[in-house]
C-alpha cells in the first residue's frame, strides 16, 4: 500500500515513467541491433569490396560491384520478374484469404473449425517436399494437372518448362501457402470483431452482403494493407524454394528473381561483394515501396469507426434501397 502511494510522488514517478518504456523495449532493440542493423551495415560495406569468402581479407573495389549489376543483363531481367511475382501474388495475399476468412467467421462452429484446419495444411508441408510434389503434379506426361485438364479437353502442357507459363506456375504453387497463412491472420484479426453487433444487425434484417460491406470490411481495412505489404516480404523464401528445386531460374531465365540472383552470386560464385551490392539494391527498393505503402495506409486509416456509427450506416443503406426490416416492419 505504502509503495503504491509513492508512485504518485512527482519527481521519482516521472523519472520512472520515462525510463519504463525503454525497459520493455531494450531486449528488442538489442536483438535488432545485433542481428539486423549490424549485419546490414556490414553488408553495405562489403558491397564496395571484392571478396570470395575464402581469402583472408576483402579488398576495396569502389562502385564496380554496382556497375556489374546494372550492366549485366541478368539482374535487370530478374528485377522485372520480381515485379511480376509480386503483382501475381497480391490477390492471393489479400482478397482471396480475406473472402475465405470472412466466410469461416460468418458461420462459427465445428464445420468451420474443420475447414480452417484443412485450409492451413499447405503452410505446414516442408518447402522442399511441396516443390517436389508439384514437380510430379505438373509433369508434362503423367502429371495429375494435365490428366485432369485432358478430361476438359485441354492438351498437355509443360507448365514449368515453357518460358511463358513457368513464372505463373510458380506463382500459383506458392499462392497456396500465402492464402493458407493469411486466412489464419485474417481470422485472428476477425477474432477482435464483436459478434453480438453482427447478430443484432442480422436480426434487424441486414443481408449478409450488407453486414460484410459495412461491418466486417471496415474492421479489416488495416489488416488488408498490412498483410498485402507483408506478403511482399514473406513470400520470397517460399518462391525461392520452389525456384531452387523446380526451375533454377529457368527456362531462359523466366523464373529468375532478385533473391535467387543474390543467392547465386553468394553461394554459387562465392562473390560476396556482388551479392552484397544486390542485397543493398533490393533492400533500398523494398524500403521505398513499403515506406510509401505504409504512409498511404496511415493516411487512409485513422481511428477505427465505432460500431454504433457503422450500424447507422447499415440502417441508412437499407433505407436508401427502400427496404424495410422484415422483423420489425
Amino acid at each position: 500500500m505504502e509503495e503504491r502511494g509513492t508512485r504518485h510522488a512527482p519527481p521519482v514517478g516521472r523519472a520512472r515513467d520515462r525510463a519504463r518504456p525503454w525497459l520493455y523495449l531494450s531486449p528488442l532493440l538489442v536483438a535488432l541491433l545485433v542481428f539486423v542493423y549490424g549485419p546490414l551495415v556490414f553488408t553495405g560495406v562489403l558491397s564496395f569490396m571484392s571478396w570470395n569468402l575464402t581469402a583472408p581479407h576483402p579488398s576495396w573495389l569502389g562502385l564496380a560491384n554496382y556497375q556489374r549489376l546494372v550492366e549485366a543483363p541478368q539482374f535487370p531481367h530478374a528485377a522485372r520478374n520480381t515485379l511480376l511475382y509480386a503483382a501475381g501474388m497480391l490477390p492471393f495475399a489479400t482478397v482471396v484469404p480475406m473472402a475465405l476468412a470472412i466466410a469461416l467467421w460468418k458461420r462459427p462452429g465445428r464445420t468451420s473449425a474443420v475447414y480452417r484446419a484443412l485450409l492451413f495444411l499447405p503452410v505446414v508441408l516442408a518447402p522442399v517436399a511441396s516443390a517436389i510434389t508439384w514437380q510430379f503434379l505438373l509433369d508434362p506426361l503423367s502429371g495429375l494437372v494435365n490428366v485432369v485438364g485432358s478430361w476438359f479437353g485441354f492438351g498437355p502442357r509443360n507448365w514449368l518448362g515453357d518460358p511463358s507459363s513457368a513464372l505463373w506456375s510458380i506463382v500459383l504453387i506458392t499462392s497456396l501457402k500465402v492464402v493458407a497463412l493469411n486466412v489464419l491472420l485474417f481470422g485472428a484479426a476477425l477474432a477482435n470483431l464483436e459478434r453480438g453487433v453482427i447478430e443484432a444487425a442480422r436480426l434487424d434484417g441486414a443481408t449478409e452482403g450488407e453486414i460484410t460491406r459495412h461491418l466486417v470490411l471496415p474492421h479489416l481495412r488495416r489488416t488488408i494493407v498490412l498483410l498485402g505489404l507483408l506478403s511482399l516480404v514473406v513470400v520470397w523464401p517460399w518462391i525461392f524454394a520452389n525456384v531452387a528445386v523446380l526451375t533454377q531460374g529457368g527456362p531462359d531465365g523466366s523464373t529468375d528473381n532478385v533473391y535467387y540472383r543474390l543467392f547465386t552470386y553468394a553461394f554459387t560464385f562465392f562473390d560476396a561483394g556482388t551479392a552484397s551490392a544486390a542485397a543493398v539494391v533490393i533492400t533500398a527498393a523494398l524500403a521505398v515501396v513499403l515506406g510509401l505503402g505504409l504512409l498511404g495506409a496511415r493516411r487512409t486509416n485513422g481511428e477505427p469507426v465505432p460500431f454504433t456509427r457503422r450500424l447507422v450506416k447499415v440502417g441508412a443503406a437499407r433505407r436508401r434501397q427502400g427496404k424495410r426490416s422484415s422483423v420489425l416492419g
Binding site: 503504491r4 519504463r20 520493455y24 523495449l25 528488442l28 532493440l29 536483438a31 535488432l32 542481428f35 539486423v36 549485419p39 556490414f42 473472402a99 470472412i102 466466410a103 469461416l104 467467421w105 460468418k106 458461420r107 462459427p108 473449425a113 475447414y115 480452417r116 484446419a117 484443412l118 492451413f120 495444411l121 505446414v124 508441408l125 522442399v128 517436399a129 510430379f136 503434379l137 503423367s142 490428366v147 492464402v179 497463412l181 481470422g187 485472428a188 477474432a191 477482435n192 470483431l193 449478409e208 452482403g209 460484410t212 481495412r221 498490412l226 516480404v233 514473406v234 528445386v245 533473391y259 553468394a266 560476396a272 552484397s276 542485397a279 533490393i282 533492400t283 524500403a287 513499403l290 422484415s326
Partner: protein, 308 residues
C-alpha cells in the same frame, strides 16, 4: 473491396445455384419470410461450395504427397494417385538410412527456442509501444518496421561470419539466436492486437492499483491469448521450415535440421522421391500437431469474443 464482398459466399447474387430461391419465391412473391429462408438456404449451399472448393485445392498436394509416401519404389511415377498396395518401405528407408529422428529433435528444439525468445522480446515491446509509448515511439516503430523489409539473404554473410568467429557453428545458440532478426514481424503483428484491446479494461486495472507489469501479465496476456496463438504458430512454422540458415549454421548431420536434411534425399546417390516424401510427412506431422493444439485456442476466441 466491393469485389471481396461479392466473393463472400453468403451474398446471393454471386451464387451459381440460385435456382431453388426462384422456385420458392416464384409462386408467392409477396411472402418475404419464405424467400428469406430460401435465400439463407442458398447462402448456406454457396458457403459450403465455396469453402469445399478452396479446401480441395489447398489439400490436394498434401494428400498426394501422403499417398505417394506409401507407394512402392516403382509406383511413384504411376498415374494412379492411390498407393496400391500400400507399403511402409519408404518410411523404413527414411528412418533407417537417414537420422530422421535426430533431425526432428534438433528442429523441434530450434523452433521452440526461436518462437519463445521472439515472444519474450516482442510482447513487452508491443505492450510498451501501445500503453506507454516513449516520446521517440515513432522512431522505434520505424526501426522495427524497417527490419521487415530486409531480405534475410542479405544478412546471411555477416551472420555467418559472426557465429564462425564465436565458434558457434553446429551449436544451438548459433542456430537459434541469429533467427531473432525476424522478431520485428512479431512486434508489428502483436502491436495491432494490443491496440485492438479496449484501453478501458487496461486502464481500469491500472486504476485498481495494478503495476504495468501486472497489467501485462494478469490482464493483457489472457486477452491476447488467441492472437498469441496465431502469431506463435506463424513464428514456429517459419523457424521449422527455415532452410538457408541451418544449412550454413549447422552443416554437421548431428546438429542439422530437417529441412536441409530432406535435401539429402535429393542429392545423395540420385533422387529418392519415395523416402523424401516419407521424410517430408514425418517433418510435417509435428507442425500439424502444434497447429491442432493451438488452433483450438484460436477457435476459442470465436466463442468468448465478448471482450469489447
Amino acid at each position: 473491396m466491393s469485389s471481396a464482398s461479392e466473393i463472400a459466399p453468403a451474398s446471393p447474387p454471386r451464387d451459381g445455384t440460385s435456382g431453388p430461391r426462384d422456385t420458392v419465391t416464384g409462386p408467392s412473391p409477396g411472402r418475404r419470410p419464405g424467400s428469406r429462408r430460401a435465400r439463407r438456404a442458398v447462402g448456406t449451399a454457396g458457403h459450403h461450395a465455396f469453402l469445399l472448393v478452396a479446401v480441395a485445392v489447398m489439400v490436394l498436394p498434401v494428400l498426394w504427397a501422403l499417398a505417394t509416401s506409401f507407394k512402392t519404389a516403382g509406383g511413384v511415377f504411376d498415374e494412379n494417385p492411390l498407393p496400391l498396395p500400400p507399403t511402409l518401405d519408404n518410411y523404413r528407408v527414411a528412418t533407417q538410412d537417414f537420422p530422421v529422428w535426430r533431425l526432428l529433435l534438433n528442429t523441434t528444439v530450434m523452433s521452440a527456442g526461436v518462437t519463445l525468445l521472439q515472444l519474450l522480446i516482442a510482447v513487452p515491446a508491443a505492450y510498451a509501444l501501445v500503453r506507454f509509448p516513449p516520446r521517440a515511439h515513432r522512431a522505434v516503430t520505424a526501426i522495427v518496421a524497417i527490419t521487415l523489409l530486409v531480405p534475410p539473404q542479405s544478412l546471411v554473410i555477416p551472420l555467418f561470419l559472426m557465429i564462425s568467429h564465436l565458434g558457434w557453428r553446429n551449436t544451438l545458440p548459433g542456430l537459434i539466436l541469429p533467427q531473432l532478426f525476424g522478431t520485428g514481424l512479431a512486434v508489428i503483428l502483436l502491436r495491432d492486437h494490443v491496440r485492438a484491446v479496449s484501453p478501458t479494461i487496461l486502464g481500469a486495472a491500472a486504476l485498481d492499483g495494478a503495476r504495468p507489469f501486472e497489467v501485462l501479465r494478469l490482464v493483457l496476456l489472457p486477452i491476447l491469448r488467441p492472437a498469441l496463438g496465431a502469431v506463435s504458430i506463424l513464428l514456429f512454422i517459419t523457424a521449422w521450415n527455415e532452410y538457408l540458415w541451418p544449412v550454413l549454421a549447422a552443416p554437421d548431420i548431428d546438429h542439422a535440421t530437417i529441412q536441409p536434411g530432406l535435401a539429402f534425399f535429393l542429392t545423395q546417390e540420385g533422387p529418392e522421391y519415395g523416402p523424401l516424401l516419407a521424410g517430408s510427412m514425418l517433418a510435417t506431422l509435428p507442425i500439424v500437431v502444434v497447429y491442432f493444439l493451438a488452433s483450438r485456442r484460436v477457435t476459442d476466441a470465436f466463442m468468448h469474443s465478448g471482450l469489447r
